[in-house]
Amino acid sequence: MNELALIVFAPLIAGALAWLIDIKGIREIIGVLGAAVPLGYAALLYQKVNGGLSFAINLGVFKLTFALNALNWFFLGIGALVGFAAILALVSTGRDSYEWLFALMSLSGVLGVFLANDLMTFFIFWEIMTFASFMMVLHYNKAASLKYFLLSVFGAYAMLIALGMIYAKLGTFDFAQIQQAMYKEAYAVAFKADTVFSKGESILIYLLFLIAFGVKAGMFPLHVWAPDAYSETNQSYAAMFSGVLSKTGVYGFIMLYLLMGTRLAIELGGFRSTTKFGYIIAFLGGLTIIVGGLLAALQEDIRKLFAYSSISQLGYILVGIGVGTALSMQAALFHALSHALFKGLFFLIVATIVYRTGKTTFADMGGLAEKMPFTFAMAFVAILSLAGIPPLVGFASKWVLFEAVISQNLPVLGGMVFFGSAIGFVYLIRFTYAVWFGQRPTDLDNVKDAPLSMAVAMAILALFNVILGIAPGLVARELNKIFGKEVIGGNLYVLDLGFGKYNALAILIYLIAGIVIAGIIYFMGAKARRVPVTDTYQSANPVTMDYNLTIRRNFFLPLKETLAFWLRISFDKLYHDIGAWIEDLAEVLRNYIYNGSVQSYAWYLAIILLILALWGV
């Protein structure tokens, strides 16, 4: 059997086996093995990246084709790595065989999406992934899962229509062929020749794809499913959910670029230094950053916080993709990797906290650093990485992204990106302090540190965070390989963009030096300052029971009040209203049409006859 097939189907088969066998202990082993296979093969296949490895299954109805190339491999690596970590953590948090089945199934789906070599395969695995992740959420919360599923399926159907339109015109699903045809199309547009797709059709396809991938990537205003879905599921699984599944959306956007980029660029024209269609993506990405970041700051629930944070971070990636230069693309890919790494890590940390304490809101936490030192260490890495502190991987990717955006002379986007970065600090501070430091509620006195499996999982991700942070050149090398040219120069430790350089190793050294100096100062003379128990702050408001702001409670309430007007515009509510409206409509329709009287039914027949008569006469 082909390696690709093994990669794709091993988790699924393992999941099915785990579900069927359903003996505690064995199912975990099977599951972890199933998740390890893709990781192992992904590592093995590194050598064959450009070897044209491909695989096809003829289902009769469709042909499933998989192929491996550098881009694929990159995402495959992300998926397999984070997926493996999440599955490993699932050993502790997994409640029953049901979760094993669907967690592994969704991993399968993700890998299938990444490896797909034609649109149909892409779509099929997309659906599998959606369905499996939905089932994971359904286990916990019906409303959240329904929202997630409906939006995802909405997106998926949009994609289906788009690919159907492409298929109807071109008669193929194959990426390469579509790409070729689209290039031809682009030329045809450029030279005003006859095109297969009219302008309207191509825009429609673009919009449909935008919806499809936007939903998965949590793009504003289609992000509303994400907070609920991420928070209302198994937290170990949420690591994969946020870390990997959302990347399929990113991957989709890249595919969109690859398939139709030229065509759309020529058809729609440019905008400043970028293309119009790309700018739309980028702009929406920028909005996503801001909205996600602000909302993350306002959350009282850790899981929600990271969910919004995740949305925010994905916005960066979209900006990177939207800008559309080779550099920004690389930045986006790089950030996709780092986001997967640190956000996966974050969710594993949250999983550990939730697993050990059973609590999710800031108000119930505090002072856990003492009790869970290892987890805290991991969290430290993750926080640094997300906040973009060198020399962790988060900094490297963000830096490249900033450079890419700024270098393209796009001030609005740049502003958005910077704002997002700033707001990142805002919510991270809260997480750092409220969870790990400060006074510990008494019921958390007996909390233990992370269980082994989760610890290992976190360690893996943290390790990658650090390694790739110190040696960003590793990633850059891969990215260059994808683009087939040297976009980011430099060596293992240095990223050279031509107009700027980042030397991770140097910074590491400076950092260590700084820490050492700071330590010396600390140990030499600093005095620990006692903090009062109720460290309220009021920001010019009277302190009441309602307006009791601590870092654990309503910390950013003033911010919330400031933004009150904007917060009222809730897309979540809009979708909810649409849903309720459709339900009411359905009710009305049902009661009017199927009103129980056989006479009315006979009237329907008469009406149809009348229509036939008028049609025919």
Partner: protein, 113 residues
């Protein structure tokens, strides 16, 4: 317009009218029955050939002096089917009346929505 055609269409439509406008179930079934009669008449008139005799080849009737036998065969079947439907419908109505104590369609609508 031939009177037979006219009559058959009119019967069909009158039957339809009964179903559309009458609230009594039995009346609707009367309408259905009339409709079936109309359809049968239509089939027969479609098969009629002016000046020819019944397709029973005795008493000196040669094949070229007989009308089309097929519609007649069809209508034989259709009539029987009609009476079967009617019988079924009436037994259903009897059952219905036993339970609902009404024949008004406006009141026979417990199943809805």
């Amino acid at each position: 317009m031939n009177p037979y055609y006219f009559a058959s269409i009119a019967l069909i439509l009158i039957g339809l009218y009964a179903i559309l406008a009458k609230r009594n179930v039995l009346k609707m079934l009367v309408g259905l029955s009339i409709m079936e009669t109309g359809v049968n008449l239509l089939l027969i008139s479609v098969g009629y050939v002016s000046g020819r005799s019944a397709p029973i080849l005795s008493e000196g009737i040669t094949p070229d002096r007989a009308v089309d036998p097929i519609p007649q065969a069809l209508v034989l079947t259709a009539i029987v089917i009609g009476v079967a439907t009617t019988a079924m419908a009436l037994s259903v109505v009897i059952n219905l009346y036993e339970k609902y104590k009404t024949l008004n369609v406006e009141e026979i609508r417990r199943l809805r929505g």
